[in-house]
């Protein structure tokens, strides 16, 4: 069977109870199935990547571990970053910035898109 292109779109901030944790769980399980898995942080989803070391709210440390799992690509929506006064350098994770056009191309290329 062909490997499917599956994209997880994270668009919500971390303070929503179990939502972020459960989205991350789904992403990590998805990654072990040997599909072409990528993740896009956009809008307030960007904030998932920040957070204090002892924060119970943020799961930034888990998301920064994405590279140790079989997640093929981690993308960040450039415009969402800029709108929040953040820069790629400020993020504790290696991510590829995407322009709006880049986001459109990424979405259009997927077989399945999951969201938080």
């Amino acid at each position: 069977m062909n490997r499917r292109r599956i994209l997880y779109v994270i668009a919500h901030s971390p303070g929503r109870g179990a939502l972020a944790r459960e989205t991350l769980d789904a992403l990590l399980v998805g990654a072990v199935f040997d599909q072409q898995v990528s993740v896009l942080f956009t809008e307030d989803g960007i904030f998932q990547l920040l957070g204090g070391e002892h924060s119970a709210v943020s799961i930034a440390r888990s998301f920064t571990a994405l590279s140790t799992y079989d997640v093929d690509s981690v993308y960040v929506d450039e415009a969402s970053l800029a709108q929040r006064g953040l820069s790629l350098e400020a993020l504790p994770v290696a991510a590829s910035p995407l322009t709006r056009a880049g986001v459109r191309e990424l979405l259009a290329a997927q077989d399945v898109v999951m969201n938080d």
């Binding site: 668009a11 809008e43 709006r100 986001v103 979405l107 077989d111 969201n115």
Partner: protein
């Protein structure tokens, strides 16, 4: 194959709608369901829909339940659940946008 975007909520500042539009490619379809149908009565809608060439649909039952029949932008075609299924069959991927 073109994508189907489903908007299921409405934010007063219009960000769910604008996020969807910014992420959609010309030729994609957008379906407003549940509170998402409110997107098509706001001023922002007229501005927002001018940009890319998208096909706009709304669930008639959800618009009716909210007293919105006759109040939605003409650009939005009201459809039933059977057409919703047809849209899903005719598009890939299906992307959902929520507040």
């Amino acid at each position: 194959m073109a994508s189907l975007h489903i908007i299921n909520s409405h934010a007063a500042n219009g960000y769910v709608l604008s996020r969807c539009i910014a992420s959609a490619t010309s030729g994609d379809a957008v379906l407003l369901i549940g509170d998402g149908v409110y997107c098509a009565v706001a001023d922002l809608f007229a501005l927002a829909v001018k940009r890319p060439k998208l096909q706009w649909f709304g669930l008639q039952a959800d618009a009716d339940a909210r007293g919105l029949l006759g109040r939605l932008a003409d650009t939005v075609e009201l459809i039933d659940d059977a057409r919703f299924v047809e849209l899903v069959v005719a598009h890939q991927p299906i992307v959902t946008w929520s507040a």
